[in-house]
Symmetry: C2
Subunit: 216 residues, 2 copies
Amino acid sequence: MAKPLLQIALDNLNEKDAYASITQVAEAIDIIEVGTILICAEGKSIVQKLKTTYPNKIILADAKIADAGKILTPMMLDSGADWTTLICCAELATIAGALEVAAERSKDIQIELTGYWDFDQAVAWRGLGVDQVVYHRSRDAQAAGVDWGPADLDKIGRLCELGFKVTVTGGITVDDLKIFAKYPIYIFIAGRSIRDAPNPLAAAEAFQIELARLWK
Amino acid sequence: MAKPLLQIALDNLNEKDAYASITQVAEAIDIIEVGTILICAEGKSIVQKLKTTYPNKIILADAKIADAGKILTPMMLDSGADWTTLICCAELATIAGALEVAAERSKDIQIELTGYWDFDQAVAWRGLGVDQVVYHRSRDAQAAGVDWGPADLDKIGRLCELGFKVTVTGGITVDDLKIFAKYPIYIFIAGRSIRDAPNPLAAAEAFQIELARLWK
């Protein structure tokens, strides 16, 4: 199986902290996520700044678009994002509109599976031509002590079988990676486990080494 | 029944256009909504600017929070919003966290019913103590030619019966208001029907006159 890509989530509260986080680790990262928190704090200009600073990285704007797909999708993509996200409860018309906008730009969207969704929706997304989904153990679920379990793995396996390129996220540590090794995961997102490490670059490199060891 | 409040949605693409929209009509408006589009464009600073300019209006930040309720909710409320929104697919833990943050500040949240949700969720929201929901005919549904119908009214009636203060939105015109006159609607949102009118202040005043006529 192909080695999964490593994405860092910049869920910082402001531009300065985001740059402090990414500057240290960029060389070991494949995808830079402009987190929802950072977009709400700074607006679209932070997407543009990060793409300008890192033109050779994939920039993902985690806008979690719920509506107005034909306005918010071009806003994010034309600010420099290669990909942007839609939230899973968005109507199919919204997702179709976002896909159209992305295709016109040879860019892509992802469906962010935060909160309530089901496999009937997932099948419908595939029918529209959605390629990417983000399987998300929520920050608040983590805070409530909910750990990765068989129910997560079963859903991730079904999403892979449906043909999605699956991103996995939600407080993932290097030690967690082996749990997912039987699946063709496309991307893992790390946030605080890299950003808050004593040596963030070493933490990112440890992810890459473990990804190469497990997916070969 | 109490006269519903009138909210204008500032779904402008930038600060300048937002101010151009609100300056003309503010005196006839009860609630100023900082739209998702405007938040994504400008970040939280636009919430702060609008509250500073209009300290006596209710400022609603339509952030459509899906996760990280304990970070995004205080970000919006401490920037000057009186209320902020969560998206309907958010996990209950996220909504509970947002409610806690809002209560500490004597402010409030709304659940934005854009896309997929059901009444089991709505009952659970009431159980958590959610008071406000936003019944939303999506922009993309409107573009697809879907009109207000009995299914919308049935859902709005059930939400009122559950005890929610219900906001109604989605391309509403003055002529549409009479459809809803049998329900104790808390807020109507108008966006383009005011912003794009030849005389926006007169358009807002026409809404207020019709609201006073229908809900007395």
